[in-house]
Amino acid sequence: MTEYFLLQALNGLVTGLIYALIAAGLTIIFSVLKIVNFGHGALYMMGGYAGYYAIHLLGVPPVIAVFVAMAAVYVLGIVFEFLMLRPLYSNKIDRKDEYAIIVTFALFMVLENAAIVAFGPFNKRPPSFAEGAVHVGTLTITYDRLAAAGMAALLLIGISLFMQRTSIGQALDAVSQSRDSAAIIGIDAKRMYAVAFGLGAALAGGAGALIAPIFSLSPTMGDLPSVQAYVIVVLGGMGSVPGSIVGGILLGIVEGLGIGFYPDPNRALVYSNAFGALLLIITLLVRPTGLFGRAHLRME
């Protein structure tokens, strides 16, 4: 029983780290731009395909392909931010919240349907990071999952350090607190918005490239993780990167253990999202601002 518990917890931890990576990107976008990016799942999907084609067309190793995918989706994010989100920073738009919802939702719809045309309707899978699995007693976990979890953890540490230790990270934090105050000390808010959206997109893209050898690629692969990312963002405290990391890991473990120990095995997998929702409800009852939440502002 202990081994089984450990196995389910470990499996949940791996999934949770990927969730955390997606959610961290969503959090950065939300905290700086004050918008909910409904296109995040599609950016995750695009990262998966970018990694796949980097391997097959450019011949790069799977690990390097993750960084190629992040770069490609970063550029995609920057272009989208420049073309579609810039009106948010002006007074040309009255209903900024609604505008942001519509354009990011459109991003999701366009990318997902374009992917069916561009990449085809059939599932694809890039080569493994490393073939095989680790066996310890009855515990078995594939190298792909371990590699994805390890790289996700490194990326999460990297993004945390970037946000805390670099001038750009601190500038992003300043803009997230007050655009006007940041402008007074010489921070170009528009540039930070572009960086934040690109960075958030790149993290989603990296998660997609990491998960591709585990779950395969399909144009709809971002649908479910994007919903889970929203849960994590609220769970961790809206706008908190550490909160989204802890929230993602927590959600992954709760889902793994929930499925593993739910009394009715027939329905356990169907209820996997319910375990996350339950965790969210309990957390919000105890801490209404989420695990690491702080009061947030709307787009100024």
């Binding site: 089984y4 949940g12 709809t220 793994g256 996997s272």
Partner: protein
């Protein structure tokens, strides 16, 4: 002096051209016969299967039109994307009704076809189900609904008998939460009960991606299942197969792996699951390649040439659906719905998957308007990147290419 005006000369030339070409392509000059197609072409439906069905249908339409069409009129198909959801299916069928289509065919999701069949019944439109397996579709006994594919009872009675004959004692089943999945498992459970085979059923949603927690749970049950059956028609099956393999659950010497519903027939199985799919057992809704007629061989060659992939049984069903409807319209010598339904009830048409006739029997209920001889067989992949049409056939034994009922993987 000019003998002809330029316009007169052009008209005369056009007339001459028309008279020369008319006997060769008479169908193109006449008003087209409109057929409706319904099926998933975008998420959340099984759009990969939908796309393959659409390709095959259009191939059939092009061939028929190249031969002059039906009653001297070309066929034209209005393709409606149902997204795999019953509400979109209903809307698509309503739209096709307003376009006064002669008949409708297609669909991949039983739940959607059930919704569509209500609309077809309301308007009296002939509706030929292409790859929808739920028994209750024909079980509704609607005069408008016919089916070219086998139904769950035909398929899973055979699968259950095979499992019993192969000596399995304890099955774990992962079923999709749809009319297809639940219907299939209901049939299997009955057969397993008759043969004292234990059953442990787990339900999954098609949009789920990580199945490893449940697979670990099934793997750790006591007694350990000796067969793991994945009754999932969507691409999620690829993840389940890989998760089961990576966990060391199946296919292994202790536990066989079965995948139903079609995804294991696509060539993407090998890209997604690689060596995990060696020893996988699946059903194929077509005839053994050794029994293919000239129509089947010609269709396969044309499909491969045009789409650079071998057609699955689903594609063959779609191809034959057009042939069946064209033949019925030709027999009826009319585009009247009732005349076509009557013609289909007495039709004998040979397509790529054999000779089609539709039962008028109501016992069992699902037999009504069902193509009772719809082919289905079980194959087990014996090597990497193997095509289903050359994989060893396990069942039915009349078609089997092996002496064994199941090749157990070596430890």
């Amino acid at each position: 002096m000019r003998l002809f005006k330029r316009s007169e000369a052009l008209a005369a030339g056009a007339g001459l051209l028309a008279s020369v070409s008319a006997p060769r392509i008479p169908a193109l000059a006449a008003e087209p016969i409109l057929l409706g197609w319904v099926g998933p072409l975008s998420p959340p439906g099984g759009y990969a299967a939908g796309q393959e069905m659409k390709w095959a249908a259009q191939l059939a339409v092009d061939e028929i039109n190249a031969k002059g069409g039906v009653m001297g009129r070309p066929l034209k198909v209005l393709y409606e994307d149902t997204k795999g959801t019953p509400d979109q299916g209903t809307a698509a069928m309503e739209l096709l009704a307003t376009r006064h289509v002669t008949a409708v065919f297609g669909e991949f999701h039983s739940s959607v076809a059930l919704a569509e069949s209500q609309v077809a019944h309301k308007y009296g439109i002939p509706f030929l189900g292409t790859d929808v397996w739920a028994d209750k579709l024909t079980g509704q006994a609607y005069p408008e609904f016919f089916r070219v594919c086998p139904c769950n009872s035909l398929i899973y009675t055979m699968v259950g008998k095979w499992a019993a004959a192969a000596g399995f004692k304890n099955a774990a089943i992962m079923q999709e939460a749809t009319d297809y999945g639940q219907g299939a498992v209901a049939v299997l459970s009955d057969i397993f009960k008759q043969h004292n085979i234990g059953v442990n059923v787990v339900t999954v949603e098609l949009n789920q991606q990580d199945f490893s927690p449940e697979i670990l749970r099934l793997m750790n049950t006591n007694p350990r299942p000796d067969i793991f059956m994945v009754i999932v028609a969507g691409a999620a099956a690829y993840n389940i197969i890989r998760d089961a393999c990576n966990a060391g659950f199946a296919p292994t010497a202790q536990t066989a792996l079965y995948s139903g519903g079609g995804p294991a027939l696509e060539k993407e199985l090998w890209e997604n699951d690689g060596k995990c799919a060696v020893n996988l057992i699946t059903e194929d809704v077509t005839l053994p390649k050794s029994q293919w007629n000239s129509i089947g061989k010609k269709f396969e060659a044309a499909f491969v040439k045009q789409f650079k992939r071998a057609p699955t049984g689903t594609a063959m069903e779609s191809y034959d659906s057009v042939g069946v409807l064209a033949a019925a319209i030709g027999e009826a010598k009319s585009t009247d719905h009732k005349a076509i339904i009557s013609a289909m009830e007495h039709l004998k048409y040979t397509g790529a998957r054999g000779t089609y006739t539709f039962s008028s029997n109501h016992q069992p209920a699902w037999a009504f308007h069902q193509f009772m001889s719809a082919p289905v067989m079980l194959v087990q992949y014996s090597e990497l990147n193997q095509s289903a049409d050359v994989a060893p056939i396990l069942f039915p034994r009349d078609w089997a290419t092996t002496k064994y009922l199941y090749a157990r993987p070596t430890a």
